[in-house]
Amino acid sequence: MKIDGTNTLPASVDTVWKTINDPEALRRCTPGLKELKAISPDNYAATLQIGIAAVKGTYAGTLRITDKQAPTHYRIILEGTGGAGFMKGEGTVDLEPQGDGTLLKWVGDIQIGGLIAGVGQRMLGGIGKMLIGQFFKCLEESLGSGS
């Protein structure tokens, strides 16, 4: 599933860059991300508990940041495997100044497989976009509050 979007964030490029590289901010804003443990720089073991309504699953996997070109570009890869299936989300993030704030452009590809893909195709696309939207909303809020 290919998705992309733009968000305007109320902070400078440098502040945004710091935030999107901060494991605390990532852990807080990534929906369902319960645990993020550094294995090496930019390489984390991740535990996700994600679901909608009664459909819940725990996924164990990794979060990696690669291809860093500070302070404007990186690639982020989140993947996890669980009982109900597996998922892999990969995206590039580009920052550019826009007035007092930052324009964040993201392009991503989400693959969902296993049981959940074969049963939930009707809603997976929409739910994926919604979760990504939640991520950016959370980022926006934490940047807006000046943290």
């Binding site: 909608i52 309504a53 009664a54 459909v55 699953g57 109900a84 049963v119 195709q121 809603m123 919604m130």
Partner: protein, 290 residues
């Protein structure tokens, strides 16, 4: 396709059920008709540690009309509502939509409360609740509260109920006397999830639209109230051109998802087609009050 192990509880009263929900919270799930929950459990997509089966709470199964409002206990079976003479007489759009909810076997077990709480993005009852400005009563361990339809549906399969709350009553304000109605949906087969569905209620007075309600399903994560389209209709003399304008407004108001059965463009297009046809049918059914 065998479910994971769970503890099974059978409360006899609402208080007992709520106490169980308070205790188990996120690890508990209410079982009413089971037509959505049980398949998810069989496939192990849902593994609630505790099932709170409310089917023995007789106090939750009732259907009555009171002061212009249809009050349904959460455990009212869809089939009972479908065949209710009260609904046939006073809220026929509900009957017409219910006939398209799955199949008779599913409606024999499925409940009105369960359907609303499940909030399937292609469900019929949620769209009608929204169109008629309905509301639900929910009981939690600390309080009972009322949630208006406009505040109830959050996203896919998600309402604003919290995990400790039990939905106990659904209320549909009745359409005005003599109002016309129409429920139309496109589904791949009889009983399937709607690719798009539209419910319309129209009241006509002195040759003009006095009141218009348009609710849609299958066109996004939650049911949609086409408020702008409604406003464009009120006060206007009816005509095919008017319906077409409303259909365009509806198309502009929805952002459907695509899936393997139909693209987003198709659903958007068909939402407009159904709106136009439903408005025409609702108008024909409306009693024209001079």
């Amino acid at each position: 396709m065998k479910p994971a192990a769970f503890e099974y509880h059978t409360p006899r009263t609402v208080d007992e059920a709520v106490a169980l929900l308070a205790r188990y919270g996120e690890e508990g799930k209410v079982l009413a008709g089971g037509q959505s929950l049980v398949p998810l459990m069989n496939m192990r997509l849902a593994r609630p540690a505790n099932i709170i089966d409310i089917n023995r709470i007789d106090a939750l199964a009732y259907l009555r009309r009171e002061r212009g409002v249809l009050r349904l206990g959460a455990l009212t079976r869809q089939r009972a509502a479908e065949r209710s003479p009260i609904i046939a007489q006073h809220c026929p759009i509900l009957r017409d939509a219910l006939r398209l909810v799955g199949h008779a076997q599913i409606r024999n077990r499925g409940t009105v409360g369960g359907s609303i709480a499940h909030a399937d993005p292609a469900g019929e009852l949620t769209a009608i609740l929204l169109a008629l400005d309905g509301e639900v009563t929910v009981r939690g361990p600390k309080r009972t509260r009322v949630i208006a339809a406009a505040d109830l549906f959050v996203t896919y399969l998600t309402t604003s109920l919290d995990p400790h709350e039990l939905l106990i009553e659904v209320r549909f304000p009745l359409p005005p006397e003599g109002a016309g109605w129409s429920w139309m949906e496109i589904a791949r087969r009889h009983g399937d999830f709607a690719l798009a569905g539209v419910g319309v209620v129209l009241a006509v007075r002195r040759g003009r639209i006095a009141e218009a309600r348009i609710g849609l399903t299958g066109v996004g994560p939650t049911p949609v109230r086409a408020a702008q389209a409604e406003r464009g209709l009120v006060g206007q003399p009816p005509s095919t051109a008017l319906w077409a304008e409303a259909a365009e407004a509806v198309r502009g108001a929805v952002e459907p998802d695509g899936d393997i059965h139909a693209s987003a463009e198709y659903r958007k297009h068909v939402a407009g087609v159904l709106t136009l046809r439903a408005l025409q049918e609702a108008y024909e059914r409306a009693r024209k009050v001079a």
